[in-house]
Symmetry: D2
Subunit: 336 residues, 4 copies
Amino acid sequence: MTNNTIFAAEQALYLHLLQTSKHHPKAGEWLANLPSWLAAIKDKSRYAHAPFYASAVARLPVITPQSVDLADEFCVRLAWEQGDYRKSESLLKNLMPWRKGPFFIGDGADKQIHIDTEWRSDFKWQRVLPHIDLTGKRVLDVGGGSGYHGFRMLGAGAKSVVVIDPSCLFYHQFMAVKHFAGVDLPVHYIPVPLESLPAKSELFDTVFSMGVLYHRASPFEHLEQLKGQLRAGGTLVLETLVVDGDERTVLVPQDRYAQMNNVYFLPSVAALSLWLTKAGFRDVRCVDVDTTSTDEQRATQWMDYHSLADFLDKDNPALTVEGLPAPKRAVMVAVR
Amino acid sequence: MTNNTIFAAEQALYLHLLQTSKHHPKAGEWLANLPSWLAAIKDKSRYAHAPFYASAVARLPVITPQSVDLADEFCVRLAWEQGDYRKSESLLKNLMPWRKGPFFIGDGADKQIHIDTEWRSDFKWQRVLPHIDLTGKRVLDVGGGSGYHGFRMLGAGAKSVVVIDPSCLFYHQFMAVKHFAGVDLPVHYIPVPLESLPAKSELFDTVFSMGVLYHRASPFEHLEQLKGQLRAGGTLVLETLVVDGDERTVLVPQDRYAQMNNVYFLPSVAALSLWLTKAGFRDVRCVDVDTTSTDEQRATQWMDYHSLADFLDKDNPALTVEGLPAPKRAVMVAVR
Amino acid sequence: MTNNTIFAAEQALYLHLLQTSKHHPKAGEWLANLPSWLAAIKDKSRYAHAPFYASAVARLPVITPQSVDLADEFCVRLAWEQGDYRKSESLLKNLMPWRKGPFFIGDGADKQIHIDTEWRSDFKWQRVLPHIDLTGKRVLDVGGGSGYHGFRMLGAGAKSVVVIDPSCLFYHQFMAVKHFAGVDLPVHYIPVPLESLPAKSELFDTVFSMGVLYHRASPFEHLEQLKGQLRAGGTLVLETLVVDGDERTVLVPQDRYAQMNNVYFLPSVAALSLWLTKAGFRDVRCVDVDTTSTDEQRATQWMDYHSLADFLDKDNPALTVEGLPAPKRAVMVAVR
Amino acid sequence: MTNNTIFAAEQALYLHLLQTSKHHPKAGEWLANLPSWLAAIKDKSRYAHAPFYASAVARLPVITPQSVDLADEFCVRLAWEQGDYRKSESLLKNLMPWRKGPFFIGDGADKQIHIDTEWRSDFKWQRVLPHIDLTGKRVLDVGGGSGYHGFRMLGAGAKSVVVIDPSCLFYHQFMAVKHFAGVDLPVHYIPVPLESLPAKSELFDTVFSMGVLYHRASPFEHLEQLKGQLRAGGTLVLETLVVDGDERTVLVPQDRYAQMNNVYFLPSVAALSLWLTKAGFRDVRCVDVDTTSTDEQRATQWMDYHSLADFLDKDNPALTVEGLPAPKRAVMVAVR
C-alpha cells in the first residue's frame, strides 16, 4: 500500500501550468517540457538513488493534518499513532542529509518529528520577509532546495509558488514534506536548474535567488535569466555571498571557498548593486547583510557531515580554512 | 458570458494522458507535444476560421442534460428554453458543413436540433459494431471527423476514446457536440494527422481507420503507423474503398476519383487482405462490403454542397463521373 | 605505403559540390551533410568490415593507365608487373561479392584482371543507352551499386555523375575501380540512400533509378524523391520489375520474391505508366521490357553465392521458386 | 569581368579543413557548418551591405605581385597601371571604415596605396611577437578584424592561420587584401563569433584573443571557449583592457566605457592572472602592459569617425569621458 503523493503533485503542477497558459501562452513551453523534466528525475541511470527516495516518499502514511502553519514556522499538526510516527521518522531519515528547514511534523508532544536541518532557514526568512510583500503574488524560488522557503512564501500570502532546484534528493524531501502539509497546496517543484526554463517567460511577480549567484561562472547571465522570469515591474530578491569593499572589489577564489567547489564571483555590496543596475534592474536596495553564524549553519542529527564550523579557520573565525574572508551574505531587492 | 468547454476538454485530455503515462511512459511523448498541438489549432495564421469556430462553441448555453444516449444513437435530451434552442441551432449552423452524424440534441419535441449530416454514419456503425467488442477498451479513431463514431464507441462500452483528425472545423464540431453531451466524457480529440503521433506508442487496444487509406500515397506506411499505435494483440478496424478483383487487382486513379483529389490505391478485398498480412497483421477478416448508397451519403440542410449523387455518372450509377467503378467500401478486422 | 585514393576522391567530391553550389545554392545542403555521410561509411560500429575494405583499396598499387575506355566497355589498360597484377587481383577479391560489372583491368594479355560480376550490366546498358542522350549532362544514379553504370555514363558523354548507394561494400568497390581508372574522373560516389539526400535539390539533368522501385514500400514516395532531384525538363530513367497485365494489375508478394525480402509493388507496364503520369511526369515511354536470362545474371568466380538459376522453379523457369512470375524488367523514360 | 577571389578563398578553406580532418575528426564538424556560415555572410537580409562589399572585392583587378612581405610589415609590391591603381584605391575606400592595419599595396612610389587604418596594429604586434614562437604553428585568431594580424602571423612563420570575426565588413576587407597578397596563402577567414565554433575542437597550437574579453558578459565562458580550441600544451595569447589594482580589483562600467557599449569586466593584471589559472591555464605570464596612445589609435583618411582622442577627458587624458581610467591593455600568455 503506497500513497499517491508524487503523482498527485505532478498532476497539480500540470493543472497549474495549464491554467497559467490560459493567459500566458509562454506557459505552454513549460508544459511541453514537463514530461521530460519529470521523467529525468525518475531516471535511475541519472540519479542512482531516485527509486530509493521515491519509495521512501511513497510509504509515508496518509494522515489528514489537524492544522498547517506556514506563516510563523513550518508546522503540521497530526494526531497519529506511535507506529505511523516511528515509521515516518525512519523514512524521512532515509532522505538525509537535510539542509534547509526546520520542519515540525507531529502531535506537538511526544510523537513529534523535528527535522533539525543544517540551516536555520527560518532565520534568513525573518530577515528577508519584512522587506517584501508576497500577498497574492506568483512566485518563483530558484535553487530552493527542500522547498522550505517555498512553503513559507505561501504562509506569507503568495498565490502560488514554483520551486526549482536540480537536486533529486531535495525534490523528494519536498515531496515528503508536502505529503504531510497537503498535496493540494499551491506550491510546486520542478527539478531543473534555472537555465533549463524557457527563457523570457515573464510569468512571475516575484523571483527569489538565494545562495546561487556565487556558484555561477557568469553572474550577468544569471541576472539575465532571473530577469527573464519576471514580469515587467516584478521584484527580484537576490541573496549571495559578498565581501567588504568598494564598487571595484570582487573576490574570485582561485580554488575552493569554505571548502566549496565552483565558487566564482563574490562582489562587494557596492559592486553587486552596480551589476544589478547594469543588468537592467531599478530601485536596487540592499536590505540585509549578515555574517553567517555557526548557530545558523551547523551539523545536526539530520545532517551529520561537516558544516560551517569545519570550514572556518580554527584560530580565526573571520577567515575560511583557505584564508579568505568568512561567509557574509547580502540580500538585495530590485525591480525589473 | 462564455462557457469553459474547450479549456475543460483540453484539461481532461491532459489528465487522461497523464494518467496513461503512469503505466505507459510513451504517453509522456504525447504530453510533450500536446501544448504545440493545441496551440496550432488556435493559430489563425494557419486556420483563418479558428477564432470564429471557437467563438461559436464558447457561446453555446450551458445546460445539464436529462439523458445522454450514445449506445443506440447520439441523442442528448435537454429541457431548454426556446431562446437557448434557437441560439444553439444558429451557432451549430456556423460550424457547417457537417459531414459525419447524425446528432440529436434537444427536448425530443418541438425544441429539438437534428444535425442531419451528409453521412448517415450510424448506418456504417451498425454494420461494423457486430464484429467487434469494445467493452473496456482504450480506442483510437484515426481520421474521426466530428467524432461521431468516437461517441458511439463510448456507447459501445469503450473505456476511453481518442479521436484524431487534423481538421480545424471538425475539431470544433466535436467540441460543440461534447459541450452538450458532457465535457467529462472520456472521449478526447487531438487535432493532428496520424503521422504526427509519436510512432510505436502501442497505447491502444483497438484502432479504427475508416475512410483514410485511399487518401494515402503509401498504404504500407499507413498500416505500419496504425500498427504502431496498437498494443500487441490489439485489433485494427480498417475501412477503405475497394474494387472487384483478385489478389493482383489495384485501381489507382490517374487523376480524381468521384471528384476527390489525392486518391491513390483502391485494392480488391483479396489484395487488401494480402497487404494486411504482409504488414504483419494476423486473423485478417473482411466483415463487410457495401456499395455506398445515396441514402447513406447525400446533401442535407447541414451540408448543402455536392454529394454522392453528383459524383456518379448520371446515366450509369455503377460508375463515377470519371468512369471508374462507383464507391464500394470494405471493413477489415485484423489482429496485431 | 598506401595510396591516397579515397581521400582524393572525397576531396574531388567536395570541390564538385562546392563548384555546383556557385550556381545552385541547394548544393550547400549537400556540402553540409557530406562530413557526416563520409564519416558514417568509415564507422566500424556501423559497418564492421569498413576498415578491411578500406585497407584493401589503400594497398592497391599506383599505376598510370595507358588508356581508359568507358564508352564500349569498362577497360583500363595498364602495363604492370606480375607482382602488382597478382596483388591487385587478390585485393579486389577481398571486395567480393561483385554484383555489377564487368570490369577489365590490366595489360590485355596474361596480366589481365577480368572482374566477372554476377550481372552482365553491360547488357542492360546496351538496351538503355540508345533511348537517351547523356551528352553534357549532370547525372544522378540512384542505387548504383559498384558504380559500373556511373562509369559508362561518363563514357556516354555525361559531364558529371553522382552515384548514390548505401552499401559500404559497393562504395569500396567503386573506389577500387576508380583507383585504376583515374581519381580525377568526374564520377563521384555518396554512400547514402535516396531519402537521405536534401529533398527538392533539382540539381540533375538526368536521374537513373534501376532496380530500386520494387524494394520500396512506397512507390509514389520514391517517384516524388526522384522528381525532386531533377531540374524541370530533366529526364528520369526508371527500371524495375514488372508483371503482365492491364492498368489495374499490381503484384505484391505476400512474402519473398525470387528469394528477395522487402519486395513490394510489381506493377504492369500500363500501371507503371499511369503511376508516372500521376506522379507528375510527362512523355512517359517504355523503352525496353526484358525477361532476365541466366546469361545476364549468374554466379561467377567473383560472386559465388546463389544467383538467378537458384531462384527459379526447377521445373518451370517461367516461375520463381515462390510460384510467382519470373523476373521481367521494364525500362521507362519520362520527363519532369 | 570580375575576379574569382572570394570563391577561391572559400575553396581553399574547404580544402584546408578537409586536409585537417584527415587527422582531426573534429574538423568534420567545422566542414559541416561551413556552408551555412558562408551562406550567412552573403545573406543581404542579415547584412544589407553584403552585395555592395562583395562587388567591390570582385571588381579589384587581377595582378600578380612582385613581392609580398608579411614579416616586417604588410606590403604587397605590384607593378600596375595608373588605372588599376586608381580603381583599386576607390574600391578599397568602399570598404571603409578600416580599423586594423596598416596595409601597403602598390609600386612603392607614386602608385602606392597606403591603407592608413585607425589602429597601428603593427605597434601591438611588435610588442607581442617577441614573446611567442609561431614557427610551424596552426593558429586561430579570435576577433581578428580585417585579418591584419593573421597575415603577420604567417609572416612570423605560422603554418596556417584561421581568423574568425562575425563582421561582414571586416570579412570583405580581408578578402580585398588577400586578393592582392595571394588567394593561396594559408590564412583563412570564417565570419563567425567564437561561440559558433564547434566546442572543444582542440585544433590549434596557438590561439589569439585580442580585444575581445572585455566585451564578453562572461569572461570565464570566453576563457573556456578559447581553451577548447587549443590542443593540450598549446598557447593562449590574450589581450584585454585592464585596470590598476590587486587580485580583488575588477572594474565593471555601469554604462559605457570610452564610449563603447557592452563593456563588462576590466580586471587588474593580478585578477586576470588568477582567472586564467582558475580556468585551467598554466605558466601564466603578463608580457606587456601598455596605455593606448593617440598615436596608436586615431582617426585617419580611412577611418574618419571619432577615435581615442574623442573618448578621453579633454582636461585629463588619464580618464575616459565617463571618468573611468583611460584604456590600458595587457597581453597575457598562458599554456593549456
